[in-house]
Amino acid sequence: MRNFLPLLGKELRALFYSPIAYIIIAVFLLLMGYSFTLTLFLNKFATLIHIFFQSAGLLLLLIPIITMRLFAEERKAGTLELLLTAPVRESHVVLAKYLASMAVVLAMIALTGAYGIVLGMFGSPDWGPIYSGYVGLVLLASTLVALGLTISALTSNQVAAAIVTIGISFLMWTIDTLAAMMPEGLERVLISLSLLAHFTPFATGAMYTSDLGFFVSTTLLALFLAMRALARR
């Protein structure tokens, strides 16, 4: 822990001292705010379900931009070797980068809490699906960040890292639509890999421990693979 906290501080500073985090958060809030007000004014429903799905879609695009530089930049600049030869564990390096990226994403998600406050001020929303929707967003973001981290650890090209992460994220998001074309056994496997299928119950207020377990295990798997990817140094 003595070595981990300075690492985490370094990663947080690297993210929050650069304008990229603020630009990403501002763009996210601008788009979500437009969607929230438009839907609220037209439909008049005190719900955030559509915001959760749109946020999830936007996270698929924005999280790779946050994670693309985590290892790729350090690998390209040659600072990764320096970092890994320092008296710190590889797992601490990975976890510090993961938690720092999650801090940006959590700030992004937390600021959309203003929409919930607006609904609470002017109406009587069903808070259950709102709470579970936020839990789902955080879990989804956690998986995407871990995935982006892994891809970034595999390449020294930031753009390639972002594009591959976006591609894999979108494939995992919609893979259940391919399921119907597959043989019966494979169909189940594809559905169980779908981020959308696991996220939807959270967004609508029906939580399952299996979905929670899926996000937790994929996050841990991706973090573990990110650490193994450092073996390529």
Binding site: F16, Y17, P19, A21, Y22, I23, A26, V27, L29, L30, G33, F36, T37, L40, F41, K44, F45, A46, T47, R89, S91, L111, A114, Y115, V118, L119, F122, G123, S124, P125, D126, G128, P129, Y131, S132, T177, A180, S192, P201, T204, G205, A206, M207, Y208, T209, S210, G213, F214, V216, S217, T218, L220, L221, L223, F224, L225, M227, R228, L230, A231
Partner: protein, 512 residues
């Protein structure tokens, strides 16, 4: 599993799972990244570690799926099918596949899709696949489905198509597709019973002094508006076959009849008909008898009813304490005796009901009361109807009209009648002192339909089959004034992103 009803075992399983996965992860972190192996061996080592991690993740996900916990956080519990619906799924012993084609733009279609997926996760024997035909037209085409909100149930080579957004129909469909034998419910006719073909809605009697449901209607021999077609349709929706039986023209109750429904006969049976009824019960048949006010059983039928533990009184129950609307003769029942038929039934009401006088049943017959009137009820005499006139009915049993107290209104009997072959199955019978409650006029209201259906299900020995209550989500709405809209827009679309930008500029400025 419903919200607030989380079982301890799956919860402990989840906690154990989380601990095990965490422990495996941290153990994995301690595996060396670099080895002293040769480059080829090192490659195999890393491939092996990665493959093992993938297998562990897959096994962990499978393990948690097998012990899933569902928590419905919505206010209306829209993703929680009732316990009865879940019971249908829980009791599945054979695999059923449900392919449901929902309309993605239809809120009801999306709701039933979610509910069906909850049911599918409950029991692995129910395989649920929800399909938006607009996204997967080829699958819809392969089933020949050209419309939305349609479910195809498949089990053991049988296929059943159901068009509904009501989970109750799906639960019934599951029972139907698994039913191996055809169950036939027979409606007795020939004594001016409620006709099973009649779908007339308004069946009570309108007179100068107002309308009546009880004694006034019981005096009518011919009640053209009355009918029991709604009960017949409800039975058919459950997958039962229905048919008419006229005992005056056939020597016995057809063997095909799993239950014989006698709904409010108005004229007295012939002795041969009573004998046929008794023979039917001796052979293990099931009788649902609704003997309304004024019906006079001929002696052999009366004797048969007494063997079942009750006698019919020529009276009407008046219940000043528990009645529907302002009519004290429209007895309302909210408390029931413990029985599978009444386990999930709330309030029912009976527009003019006769009391049943308990007598000692024949040996080998078990009689169970189903429900009674309140402690403040009493009775008043009524005129008999049909071929028997008032004079002849004077011998009909009566309870004491001046005596206040609960009156027995319905009983269930089960056992073997005297004279039955020892190997013949046990009969079942339900006797109610009213027929109106199951008629077209009153079946849909309160829990009358639930009770009538539960009685039939018990009689055909399907008392474990259940119905599912439907819940419609009501999205909470927000009505905003123009000023409020402007304020909200300013806050979330202008101030919020701008404040983030301002913070970023401030950090940049300080760093500069």
């Amino acid at each position: 599993m419903e919200h607030g009803d989380i079982e301890l075992a799956p919860l402990l399983w989840f906690l154990g799972w989380a601990f095990a996965v965490g422990a495996l992860f941290f153990a994995g972190l301690r595996l060396p990244l670099q080895t002293r192996f040769t480059s080829v061996k090192s490659l195999f080592y890393n491939i092996g570690v990665v493959a093992a991690a993938l297998v562990v993740a897959a096994l962990a996900t499978t393990a948690i799926i097998l012990h899933d916990i569902h928590i419905d956080l919505t206010r209306e519990k829209i993703f929680t099918p009732s316990s009865q619906a879940m019971a249908v799924v829980d009791q599945l012993q054979r695999p059923v596949r449900l392919t449901y084609f929902y309309h993605g733009q239809d809120p009801e279609g999306r709701r039933i899709k979610d509910v069906l997926e909850v049911m599918g996760r409950r029991n692995s024997r129910l395989e649920v696949r929800t399909v938006d035909p607009d996204r997967e037209p080829s699958l819809a085409l392969s089933y020949g489905v050209r419309m939305s909100n349609v479910g195809i149930l498949e089990a053991e080579g049988r296929k059943l198509l159901i068009q509904t957004t009501d989970e109750r129909d799906i639960a019934i469909g599951i029972q139907r597709v698994l039913r191996e034998k055809v169950i036939t419910a027979c409606f007795l006719e020939g004594h001016n019973e409620f006709p099973m073909d009649n779908f007339e809605f308004h069946t009570h009697v309108e007179g100068i002094a107002g309308h009546s449901h009880g004694d006034a209607s019981s005096k009518l021999i011919q009640t053209a508006g009355h009918g029991i077609g709604r009960l017949r349709r409800a039975l058919e929706a459950q997958g039962y076959e229905t048919r008419k039986v006229i005992l005056a023209t056939s020597p016995s109750v057809p063997e095909i009849c799993q239950v014989l429904i006698v709904a409010n006969p108005r004229t007295t049976f012939l002795p041969a008909e009573s004998a046929a009824l008794e023979a039917y019960l001796q052979s293990g048949g099931s009788l649902f008898a609704m003997f309304d006010l004024g019906f006079v059983p001929e002696p052999r039928l009366a004797a048969l009813i007494e063997k079942l533990g009750v006698r019919l009184a020529q009276e009407a129950v008046v219940d000043p304490l528990s009645h529907y609307s302002t009519d004290a003769e429209m007895v309302a029942v909210t408390v029931y005796d413990q029985n599978p038929m009444t386990a999930n039934v709330s309030m029912t009401f009976y527009p003019g009901i006769r009391p049943l006088i308990p007598v000692q049943p024949k040996q080998g017959i078990r009689v169970a009361p189903l429900f009674s009137s309140s402690r403040d009820s009493y009775t008043r005499p009524v005129q008999p109807v049909g071929v028997r006139e008032a004079g002849e009915s004077s011998s009909a049993p009566r309870s004491r009209t001046d005596e206040v107290g609960p009156r027995l209104l319905a009983v269930a009997a089960e056992g073997q009648l005297p004279g039955a072959a020892s190997e013949s199955p046990r009969f079942r019978a339900v006797i109610v002192g009213d027929g109106d409650f199951a008629s077209n006029s009153f079946l849909p209201y309160l829990s009358n339909g639930d009770l009538a259906m539960a009685m039939v299900r018990w009689l055909v020995r399907e008392e474990r089959s259940t119905a599912v209550a439907n819940r419609i989500p009501v999205p909470p709405m927000i009505l905003l004034s123009s000023a409020q809209m402007k304020a909200i827009f300013l806050l979330v679309e202008v101030l919020l992103p701008l404040s983030v930008i301002a913070l970023g500029v401030m950090v940049w400025w300080r760093r500069r």
